[in-house]
Symmetry: D2
Subunit: 137 residues, 4 copies
């Protein structure tokens, strides 16, 4: 299983009036996780863009298990989930390093859009098939 890890310090601006990280910010942490994965395995947003595609998020899910407070640190574990269609799937586990607790889990689904026409690409792009052959077999 391909996966990648990144540690993130919580920003004060990411907390809310309950004193904890505002729930929507986990999608930023997932984005950080995807980019860390992309750097490690050659699948960065900009690499994909150079191949001619945007890969917008079409679905996301978050489950919150425990709060994270300002001054705490988290680890995001991003795992690549193989799929047969022209999609990119990741699952995420966010650990509160300070407490050792799992604070959130989640997943995202991305599709390929032609960067010029913004039309949905239904077939797996060649570069992505090559990437899968290299990394998953």
């Amino acid at each position: 299983m391909l996966s990648s890890e990144i540690e993130i310090d919580i920003r004060f601006s990411e907390t809310d009036a309950m004193g904890v990280v505002w729930h929507g910010n986990y999608l930023k942490f997932f984005e950080d996780g995807r980019e860390a994965f992309g750097k490690e395995y050659g699948l960065e947003y900009l690499t994909i863009f150079d191949k001619g595609y945007f890969t917008p998020i079409v679905k996301s899910e978050i489950e919150h298990k425990a709060p994270v407070y300002y001054g705490q640190k988290i680890r995001v574990i991003t795992q690549y989930l193989p799929a047969k269609s022209a999609k990119v799937l990741f699952s995420y586990e966010v650990i509160n390093i300070t407490t050792g607790q799992i604070c959130a889990i989640g997943s995202t689904m991305q599709v390929f859009l032609d960067k010029n026409t913004r039309e949905l690409e239904l077939l797996t792009p060649d570069f992505y098939r090559d990437w899968k052959l290299k990394h998953l077999s």
Copy 2:
């Protein structure tokens, strides 16, 4: 079915380098929708807080159907989903008013925490049972 609607102008700061609304910002739109619902039906965040509870989001889902560009306007339709347990469930539909398209759908689940101890409240709080009796029967 209880539901509420709110219209939102897209902020420039809510767009990303693809030129569209960044996917994570939909959780802000859902929050706007919940607050509009709360104002209409007497279930605002601050009302709940005065009753002794925080209601953090413990689960959220978003499905993106179409992009929204800067300069466009959206309508968020927030629908209350009845549940037997001590939870608050909403579903959301985001319409791009400019194009008429559904651009996103989603849902959230909230639980009750005692605002002092931050312990999970397993039983439906009295004020919420009263609210349900008043609005759902």
Copy 3:
């Protein structure tokens, strides 16, 4: 003096762990104020873009006078400041409607960039000279 007003409900996500609006969010409120001004006087971001220019912020200042809490409402008064050079200057006053207090004042400076070359435009663009003639004389 040309000016425009807009009212904004504070979002929960805009608060921080001090329980007040995070200071950086005032730049979003200023942006809302500029857009309200643009709509009223025909100087929206997208109108300027159609004329061939980006107008990035090159300078901003905020002074915070009083906090704003979640559940409160603000009014942003955006005032156009005439300038001879190829710049767009605004000043802002943010009123906490709930308390009646001035909670922040500020200013921004924008320049014109050619939208294709991203080069700085040193001379006042024709459309902007026309706009000034129409609105300021």
Copy 4:
């Protein structure tokens, strides 16, 4: 002169529809810079809080010199500016590491509020006088 440095990867969510970092996000970078300074010199937000104070930003300025694009990396240099009154002043320099350019400079002013009463502290708190004696003499 006391100063501190931190490197930051630009998040995709921090870009806007011009393809560059949205101007308001620099206040987040300044916050990152202050916290890096705080960690290095024992003046973190939470340390100050434990001493009984909030230190809200009452003034901020940013000057933008050059854009920063997604995929680029920045360095924030945070410099402590001594002041006689009960204030905390910092200046910031943001370097685009990828291009070598200075992309922004700025400054912030913070005051001390009693964390319980939220009243402005006009005299320099003891712990801060001690901190200054230790670090500035």
